[in-house]
């Protein structure tokens, strides 16, 4: 590493002499604020437990940031909000009943191994929170795939899903314990045990009630993904405040919708529209598309690059959800595309004016 140029920056200072009011700290804490609607709602829905998990993850992330900056003799900047986001997102990516020690381990992994070893803020290749999720998934799969909260009965935002289709109570009970995407995979087998066909499942999954539940927020899932609506609100805050641009969310969500619609139509599925909507609203796609794929450090810098990145995320999400071993593909798709960002940035550059 060559010597830094700081010494060469004359005290006199060069133009320009005024700067935008946005600073890294402002941007980062804006993201934290934008995550709050979904986080607060999740605490309401999942109970105090979710709050404890989030607080522990954030504290661990900030402590890890401060500690590693101290040990690596870097400038202390743990309060700039980026570690807080990472911690918060680690927590928002685990089930509400996840053990506290696990999210703490996840936060430490995210900050120390994925971020600080690579040089700290701005230099990491992979999204720390998502790498931590993959780490926890590979390490403690049981804690990551169980402990969902069932569709809540006591919820003022959206009514609880009722057994309108008259399924046997045990079946309905079993089904509402899983996350919607797990249900898509496992539902047929559960129903099969009771001698029912898969159509019953589709009637439930793609019903307006289910879609409403997904959109407004009353489904089993990780802490952060229970309400598409509130994530959208947060995402719009980021768009309006110009923290993020439209490119990644639009191309990511757009690609998932387009590819699923084509897939459902091509396989002759009669509820293609509703099924596509189901896919768009579930599995933390909004959380990923607005808050995680948009992490600027790990996404391309140019608009065109972002469009490619978003489309790639959408495509990989589709592939993993449809054929992969995991029911949910958003987090892995973003991680995989993170790895491609240096290549995208290298080849997708704006054409220099006048050339």
């Amino acid at each position: 590493m060559a010597e830094k140029e700081s010494a060469l920056l004359m005290k006199l200072s060069s133009a320009p002499h005024i700067r935008t009011g946005d600073s890294v700290t402002v941007i980062m804490w804006t993201v934290v604020a934008a995550l709050m609607p979904a986080a607060v709602y999740s605490v309401y829905l999942n109970g105090l437990r979710a709050l404890i998990v989030m607080a522990a993850a954030v504290a661990a992330a900030m402590a890890a940031e401060a500690g590693s900056q101290y040990l690596l003799k870097r400038k202390l900047s743990f309060h700039d909000g980026s570690a807080a986001i990472t911690g918060l997102l680690v927590a928002m990516n685990v089930p509400p009943d996840a053990p506290v020690w696990m999210v703490v381990a996840g936060s430490l992994f995210a900050i120390i191994i994925v971020k600080q070893l690579f040089g700290g803020l701005g230099f990491n290749i992979f999204n720390p929170a998502l790498a931590a999720r993959a780490f926890m998934m590979a390490s403690w799969p049981v804690h990551m795939t169980t402990g969902w909260h069932r569709f809540s009965q006591l919820n003022s935002l959206s009514g609880s899903l009722t057994n309108v289709f008259g399924l046997p109570p045990e079946v309905f009970d079993a089904m509402t314990q899983a996350t919607p995407l797990t249900l898509v995979r496992e539902g047929p087998r559960i129903l099969h045990d009771f001698g029912l066909g898969a159509e019953a499942l589709h009637r439930v999954l793609f019903s307006p009630e289910m879609l409403k539940s997904l959109f407004i927020g009353n489904v089993g899932g990780v802490i952060g993904e229970t309400s598409a609506l509130l994530l959208l609100v947060g995402g719009l805050i980021l768009l309006v405040r110009r923290v993020i641009t439209w490119h990644i969310p639009v191309s990511f969500i757009g690609t998932v919708a387009a590819v699923y619609f084509i897939y459902y139509t091509a396989t002759g599925f009669e509820q293609a529209g509703a099924a596509t909507l189901f896919q768009v609203l579930s599995g933390g796609l909004f959380l990923g598309a607005f808050f995680m794929a948009t992490d600027m450090v790990t996404s391309p810098v140019t608009g065109a690059g972002m469009l490619i990145f978003g489309a790639g995320c959408g495509l990989v999400t589709f592939v993993i959800r449809t054929w992969g071993g995991y029911p949910e593909g958003v987090s892995y798709s973003i991680l995989i595309m993170n790895a491609l960002v240096p290549l995208i940035d290298r080849y997708v550059k704006p054409k220099v004016f006048g050339t």
Binding site: P141, T145, E186, R189, D193, G325
Partner: protein, 230 residues
């Protein structure tokens, strides 16, 4: 010119020859043992699932184009009576690949024991279907603490012993199995799924049920109730 091609070829040929000779010596010692081992795996599995039985013949039955390999076996009860037993290979698609087990059933259609012989499930999840309930710890071994008895049958597979294949087997989610649950589960003709690996658990159960269906087309079973009536 000639020399530059022929000589190296000869030398290399010689090297290869020596090597082939050495290896064929080694091979002559190892080959029979390798073949023996391969046979053993199957016979040991059969012993596990049909304890006390003598295997009489290997048979195949084809139902709807699908083939099932099974073995007929018999166990002497006393001089006059002997009971039949069967073992078959049940196979199904698990979470990340084929899960194969050998299942022993008696002539009433009750499972004697099962043994999962092949799986490639996720370590820590589905792969726990072969996990032994060992409590041995490092400290225990070195400091001589209480390590508890070690079981030889994986706990997941142990649940199947005694289940009645004339009824549907239920897959419940009661958390990891322990001996205290045994009685209740037996009453419900159920197993408790491996935590977080319901798919694997279900696959084993379904493959056994499917295998039994096929076996029924070749052999007859007397359900326990009818037997009692007799």
């Amino acid at each position: 010119m000639m020399n530059s091609i022929v000589k190296p070829t000869l030398i290399l040929g010689l090297v290869a020859l020596i090597s082939a000779w050495v290896l064929s010596l080694v091979n002559s010692v190892t080959a029979p043992r390798i073949a023996q081992l391969q046979r053993d795996i199957r016979s040991r599995a059969l012993e596990t699932v049909l304890p006390g039985y003598t295997v009489e013949e290997e048979k195949k039955v084809t139902v709807n184009g699908k083939e099932l390999t099974y073995w007929r076996a018999a166990k002497k009860i006393d001089e006059k009576t002997s009971r039949r037993g069967y073992a078959f290979i049940a196979s199904g698609q698990g979470y990340s690949g084929e899960v194969q087990s050998i299942v022993g059933v008696d002539d009433t259609g009750r499972i004697i024991a099962i043994s999962i012989v092949l799986q490639s499930e996720t370590p820590g999840l589905g792969a726990r279907c072969q996990e032994l309930a060992s409590k041995k710890t490092l400290a225990g071994v070195f400091l001589g603490g209480n390590n508890g008895p070690e079981s030889t049958v994986p706990w997941f597979q142990q649940q199947f012993a005694g289940l009645d294949l004339n009824r549907k087997i239920q897959v419940l989610k009661k958390g990891d199995w322990n001996p205290d649950m045994q009685e209740e589960l037996q009453q419900q003709n159920a197993i408790s799924a491996i935590t977080g690996a319901t798919i694997t658990s279900r696959t084993v159960k379904e493959s056994i049920e499917r295998g039994m269906e096929m076996l029924r087309s070749a052999e007859s079973f007397t359900p326990p109730a009818e037997e009692a009536a007799k």
